[in-house]
Symmetry: C2
Subunit: 339 residues, 2 copies
DNA sequence: TTGTAGGCGTTATCAT
DNA sequence: ATGATAACGCCTACAA
């Protein structure tokens, strides 16, 4: 392995001068810099991060800790956002997942300490409440896509399910829908509750009578092994002679089943029923015909901005914990029509 | 930060004795070990990996390099498999993605060298041919979910699309289907071609006349911005009075569109048409009603076994490059019926 | 079985 | 503006 000393020797300067060049420090004459840079190229030198870390005790490394409960459908985009910020800012990312096992989670925090990690991104695949086992380790931490439980007080960055659902509901209302079905997400998901509440809020605000809101629970049970009633709930709602003109779904996955139920009953989308999803999981929302009108979860931004936020936290430790919320964009496609 | 010396002092032993205990080396009396272990617990000592690396020049770190072309729907499971093997075997994973940019790819290899990485996992999100820019750096490398192009000769681990498609086709054949539609995946995807070839092979072998095989191209164009003909192709095939009794799809995503087209035409699944997918992307395959019969891509295994293989390569460098193939399991659900 | 000395590649400190 | 030297935390080699 070629070291800083080899470079120094080749360039005929001291190791410290090489160090200065490598780290872009001032007080190096252009001529020196030139010489050193050539030696670096000639020898193919790359700095040894491990040694740098030992000496400076700055690792420039962040850890991601995820839950990965159930197969993880969407949120690879969160990790992509994290990656992109990290790469652009010279940080390294260490990835670990708990598989939902608290004991494993503890051992991960130790691994992180072992690697001198400067901060932790605690990422969940569904928007929900968590209690990280951070324990006694107090590394700067940002929660991404989840909300701190009572035991802890940590900064978080979360999608604004409320605003997204409000926008979507008002969009339906604006297009004349006055009798609307709603299929609810699993109640243990924070996002699901927020979406439903927002839906209720918007319809009440618009003066829609209670009777014209048809609500069904689409799924329940532990994440990853929930029982799913969506298809039959949709058939049920749509079979009624006084059926709603539109159905909103807890997420896009549910929307598929509503499509299938509607078509099965000979209903056309959107002429006979309008359908709206949530998430904009494009593998679904673009595969549906007509393509799905939905609200996009800002996963990439969550990752990107969350990492930025973690970095702030590290550089300005005084920064107070707080909750940041990222809007969900309304994606207008073909599955909702005017009445 | 608490170091090995602090522990040694607290336990009243030398630093080397602590080192021995930490690394589980022999020749330590139980009594000593006990004393050291208590000191470790009391002080909350964790070894400093960076220092360990500097001295021993073994990083126990693998790098993952991914392409992430287009939004990545499925293959988070590959990374999960890698993670699990790594965690179980005390390895650390560094994640980097090229975003398809060769220049960035080069800088990633440098980052990897900087971190003294012992091996590289080159992962793609779609099964395809690649030419890694490994350049002069010759780290042990395993290709996961992709196949080396002409320029390089690297070991790879790939899904057995051929076997999966063969199994699926024969399954349909065994259930009496004699006139079958096939909607092809983008021709630039290796897996798509293998699936299609295998389908042709199996039907020919079964003596199905050319006339009874109805093939359509479902999509084409660059990955991530392909044009999609699936829905209209499916309508087309199914509108024919002499329509096939079953349709096989390049993947599950296409299957959705075939479902929609069939239902739109008033056809029942599977009574009137059987439908088979490929991938077992469960967010889709389980959301469809009836649930989709398909072949499961072994993503998790690809990651897990690929990492194991990389480790072998590192420990026994003599090991020759080779191609390993992992079977796709046939997942029998409700979308295919007997004729 | 245990301890001592030295060195890995880097940055920090303090001279010059 | 540049350099000499120490120190980071650990492991290797060797000695006791």
């Amino acid at each position: 392995m070629v070291s800083i000393i080899d470079v120094a020797r080749a360039a005929g300067v001291s190791n410290k001068t090489v160090s200065r060049v490598v780290n872009g420090e001032p007080y190096v004459t252009p001529e020196m810099r030139e010489r050193v840079e050539r030696a670096i190229r000639d020898l193919g030198y790359v700095p040894n991060m491990a040694a740098r870390m030992v000496r400076s005790s700055r690792s420039r490394t962040f850890g991601i800790i995820t839950d990965y409960v159930s197969t993880t459908p969407y949120s690879g985009d969160i990790v992509r956002g994290i990656q992109d910020w990290a790469t652009a800012n010279g940080k390294i990312i260490l990835l670990a997942n708990t598989g939902g096992d608290p004991e494993r989670e503890l051992s991960i925090w130790n691994t992180f300490r072992s690697h001198q990690i400067e901060g932790v991104l605690y990422v969940t695949m569904y928007h929900r409440v968590v209690d990280p086992e951070a324990g006694d380790v107090d590394l700067p931490t940002v929660l991404i896509n989840c909300h701190p439980g009572s035991r802890v007080d940590l900064p978080s960055i979360e999608p604004d399910d409320t605003q997204g659902s409000l926008d979507l509901t008002r969009y339906l209302l604006a297009r004349g829908h006055r009798r609307i079905g709603y299929i609810r997400l699993n109640p243990i998901l924070l996002g699901g509750e927020q979406r439903y509440e927002a839906f209720r809020h918007a319809t009440t605000e618009a003066g829609i009578p209670e009777n014209d809101i048809i609500v069904r629970l689409g799924m329940e049970g532990p994440v990853g092994k929930e029982t799913n009633y969506v298809y039959s709930a949709a058939r049920d709602i749509l079979s009624d002679e006084n059926r709603p003109t539109a159905i909103m779904c807890g997420n896009d996955e549910m929307a598929i089943q509503v499509y299938l139920a509607a078509l099965h009953l000979g209903l056309r989308i959107p002429e006979d029923v309008s359908i709206a999803g949530f998430d904009d999981f494009q593998t679904l929302s673009l595969a549906l015909k007509p393509e799905l009108t939905t609200a996009a979860l800002p996963y990439y931004d969550l990752g990107f901005k969350g990492t930025e936020r973690l970095n702030q936290l590290i550089e300005i430790p005084a920064d107070r914990p707080s909750r940041v919320v990222v809007p969900c964009e309304l994606i207008e496609r073909g599955s909702v029509s005017s009445k």
